[in-house]
């Protein structure tokens, strides 16, 4: 077996899997650049979140987990769909949403992807097969099932990627979804992004399990696998197997991807450095960072130079700063906008919308 010069990649080398062999040098570099962009966006968002008056609400940062969303999005074809929970910025950018529309949404501006009506947890881009951005833990898991149902109903060959955190696996809606997925043969892939903590409660303190969380799939006679999330090749290789199972066999899977978030559950998480030791956080940052490891891979493969990687960082950071400027310069929604986008029929001024009173304001 081929071995890598980097000590931190998985013992199995997933570079040789067909889906990774098919990656061109340009695509590999682009994916590095995407991960760097995601992180730069969030760093800039964090900086502005801390600036009084710039943003409201929560900010759930994805920093440390970038290989997962970017790896998954890189596998999506025209009939594949994605949905996730509230830690959604990376998924949004990875499917091709712009920093401008995302940053403007954080700033609550009318130019935001959701016109300032959703905020940090609710980014959407149906035109890019991205269905949110959902705030209630595991509330999106039946929706992801429904996306798979829709794919199957329309007779398309596709997969619905439904992301959830390790804290979501104990919600009833998720288990109902797993049963339905297996029972109906729905082409959905549940991707557990396991960052070890459901807010401040560790996996061991929140979940009963034998070896891992994905293993619960056995109870539903469903395929499952565990992925080392710091290895970008492994993320792609194993997710692709599950997506192909969905596309070709119309069968669901659970893929548990071990990963780590450097920041708290949200920026408002006051105990982010208490329930995890500083040593633990430092270890992940230093030895298991998915961007560093992917960069090292590309260096090892002689596809980029350190200098180029630095340039990506600079460009991403400049793009993120530009998006802040765009957001700041954008108009806020108006009071009149509050009652837009409630009903499709009233928004479209249909005949049906003219019958009866829809809104009950003073």
């Amino acid at each position: 077996m081929e071995t890598s010069t980097s000590p931190n990649v998985s013992p199995l080398n997933f570079a040789g899997s067909p889906i990774n062999k098919s990656l061109t040098a340009e695509k590999k570099i682009e994916l590095l650049s995407q991960m760097i962009r995601v992180r730069a966006f969030e760093r800039e968002a964090l900086k502005n979140y801390r600036r009084p008056g710039a943003m409201g609400g929560f900010l759930h940062l994805y920093i440390g987990q970038e290989s997962v969303a970017v790896g998954a999005a890189s596998l999506m074809g025209a009939n594949d769909h994605m949905i996730t929970a509230y830690r959604c910025h990376a998924h949004a950018l990875a499917v091709g949403m712009s920093m401008n529309e995302c940053m403007a949404e954080l700033f609550g501006k009318a130019t935001g992807c959701s016109k300032g009506k959703g905020g940090s947890m609710h980014f959407f881009a149906p035109d890019k097969n991205f269905w949110g951005g959902h705030g209630i833990v595991a509330g999106q898991t039946p929706l992801g099932l429904g996306l798979g149902y829709g794919i199957k109903y329309k007779g398309l060959e596709g997969a619905a990627l439904c992301f959830l955190g390790d804290g979501a696996v104990n919600q009833g809606a998720y288990h109902e979804s797993l049963n339905l997925a297996a029972l109906f043969g729905i082409p959905v892939v549940y991707v557990i992004e396991n960052n070890g903590y459901s807010m401040g409660t560790s996996q061991k303190r929140s979940s009963a399990y034998k070896d891992c969380l994905a293993q619960r799939a056995d109870a539903y006679d469903m395929d499952w696998d565990v992925v080392n999330g710091e290895d970008f090749y492994e993320v792609r290789a194993k997710l692709n197997i599950a997506m192909e199972r969905a596309r070709k066999e119309s069968k669901p899977s659970i893929i548990e991807i071990n990963t780590y978030r450097y920041y708290g559950h949200s920026v408002a998480d006051a105990n982010a450095d208490k329930y995890r030791s500083p040593e633990e956080i430092a270890r992940y940052k230093n030895d298991h960072d998915p961007i560093n490891l992917w960069k090292q891979r590309l260096l090892d493969e002689d596809l980029i130079t350190e200098e180029q990687a630095k340039e990506f960082g600079k460009a991403a950071s400049a793009e993120a700063k530009e998006s802040v400027k765009f957001a700041e310069d954008s108009p806020a929604p108006t009071i009149d906008d509050i009652t837009e986008d409630v009903y499709w029929e009233t928004d479209n001024n249909t005949e049906a919308s003219k019958i009866g009173r829809h809104f009950f304001n003073d």
Binding site: I136, P142, G144, Y149, G150, R357
Partner: protein, 327 residues
Amino acid sequence: MREIEYRDALNEAFDEELTRDENVVIMGEEVAQYNGAYKVTKGLWEKWGDKRIVDTPISEAGFIGMGIGASMLGVRPVMELMFWSFHSVAFDQLVNNAACCRYMSGGLINVPIVVRGPANGGTNVGATHSHTPEGIFAAFPGLKVCSPATPADAKGLMKSAIRDNDPVYVMENTTLYGIKGHVPDPADGDFTIPLGKADIKREGTDISLIAHGASVLRCLEAAEILQSEHGINAEVLDLRSIRPLDQEAIIATVKKTNRAVLVDESKPFCGVSAQIATLIQEYAFDYLDAPVKRVCTIDAPAIYSPHVESDQLPNAKRIVAQVLTIA
């Protein structure tokens, strides 16, 4: 005109919409092979097969959420809750995902689903199976709610609900499923009743009885008693749709009769009738010759006892008594 049962009127609505739109799917517990817990979907599975008529496991949050997700890709699920009372186990899907996805996406998404089933008391099944949540769901912007009282309204409203591009929750009634009424023959053309349009079920001059669902029938019974025993000519306005709401019809009948009793199977606190009362005081205050009165379900969880449950709900006796306090 032919007479058919309320359940058959609904069945006809499904059959016609299944024919009209290949994306319409009926799903729920026992709707297919069992022919429906109340036979509302009888024969549809045999005719339309597994793809269009789908039996689900007892997983209301799971299958309603699934329907919402599927609707985002253009499927139009019509989902049965065997009892609307079971809304509580699917509440997150019903009020967050169905009602708010459009809004939170800035209008990029719409959720063209129907959730339907019976929502009523009066069958001695105890508190957990007797909820009437029309007011609860009408309180969520993004949702639409209707509650048909007659077979014709059931068919016409159901067809409109299925065609509507927003989530519509149709509250039916187990005590009405077997009641017969006039429903236009399908041969005479496509029959729909728009959401948001009330209907005067009995013309009158002395007092307005405003109701929805089975309470409309109780009002009609009361109106006959009021006429024959008290010489009071009551008008009965059937709201049919709770949201959108036909405010014009409400105000018009109050302006005509100058008195109103609101009859509502909801509980009194913040029930549908509470909303109607505030609209009347705001838009018809000067036309009132008496305070607006209400007859709601007596404010306690639904009692089981067959000896008294019918008195916990609005009935003709309670309506007549309330009318006599102001007429």
